[in-house]
């Protein structure tokens, strides 16, 4: 399941839903991304997440489908927030369940690497230097590309 929303999510509730009454699940791997208070330019006061409505949902659905193709998974959950967030706020939740741990661990990492470079979000940090757009990271590109080459 994928969700793009402004409001926060309840991690415990979301994770329980994926495993309750699903006794074929042996492993659940989870990633929670949060707004850090430190940016390159100093302490930030807020972060605005802009996104491309419509395309975001399409991209996330593509990632979800790709994860199911590559691994034997019981379920995939991706929740990505947009809007104005404060330090300590949750940004993203990725969770995958599978009978065995390797599929679940690998697919969770795959999805988060993918989101970094292929989900249409743009981050604007408000800090001591005013508003600064977060640059894409070359290491994020490399992390995402790694999954392409492993595939071929």
């Amino acid at each position: 399941m994928i969700r793009v929303q402004e409001k926060d999510f309840d991690v415990g509730l979301e994770l329980s839903r994926m495993t309750e009454n699903h006794h074929e699940v042996g492993a659940q791997s989870v990633f929670v991304g949060l707004v850090r208070d430190m940016a390159n330019t100093g302490k930030i006061s807020s972060m605005t997440l802009e996104h491309y409505p419509g395309m975001t949902e399409k991209q996330l659905a593509t990632i979800e489908e790709e994860a199911h193709k590559r691994w034997s998974l019981n379920d995939v959950l991706i929740i990505h927030r947009f809007g104005i967030l404060q330090p300590g706020d949750r940004i993203v939740l990725v969770a995958t369940t599978s009978p065995h741990r390797t599929a679940s661990l690998e697919s969770c990492q795959f999805i988060i690497d993918w989101l970094k470079t292929k989900a249409p979000f743009w981050k604007l940090e408000s800090g001591p230097l005013g508003e600064v757009w977060v640059d894409s990271q070359e290491k994020d590109e490399r992390a995402a590309i790694k999954w392409d080459t492993e595939d071929s």
Binding site: G33, E50, H51, Y52, G54, M55, K58, Q59, H80, I91, V92, I112, L115, K116, T117, K118, A119, P120, F121, W122, K123, L124, W133, V134, D135, S136, Q137, D140
Partner: protein
């Protein structure tokens, strides 16, 4: 043609989107960017270095040499920073 701008491309152009009617010689994203830059001001500033620009045509990520048509939704933006 429906145009959408995101991130600092949007901030520099100053609007989040617009519907424009590019001339016939705008056949792909490259020529669209060249045409927009001629409008000067924020467009020139936002699109100055096309290597920094990413594009989606009809909500699919693609390359700057992609052919485009009047009925397309074309989005221009900086590299994405999701997650």
């Amino acid at each position: 043609m429906r145009l959408l701008y995101f991130g600092w491309v949007r901030a520099r152009i100053g609007i989040s989107g617009e519907t424009l009617d590019p001339p016939r010689n705008v056949i792909d994203v490259y020529s669209l960017i060249d045409w927009l830059k001629m409008r000067g001001g924020g467009y020139q500033e936002a699109l100055e270095d096309p290597t920094l620009i990413r594009v989606a045509v009809n909500q699919e990520i693609t390359t700057l040499d992609t052919q485009i048509h009047h009925s397309d939704e074309v989005a221009l933006f900086p590299p994405m920073t999701g997650g």
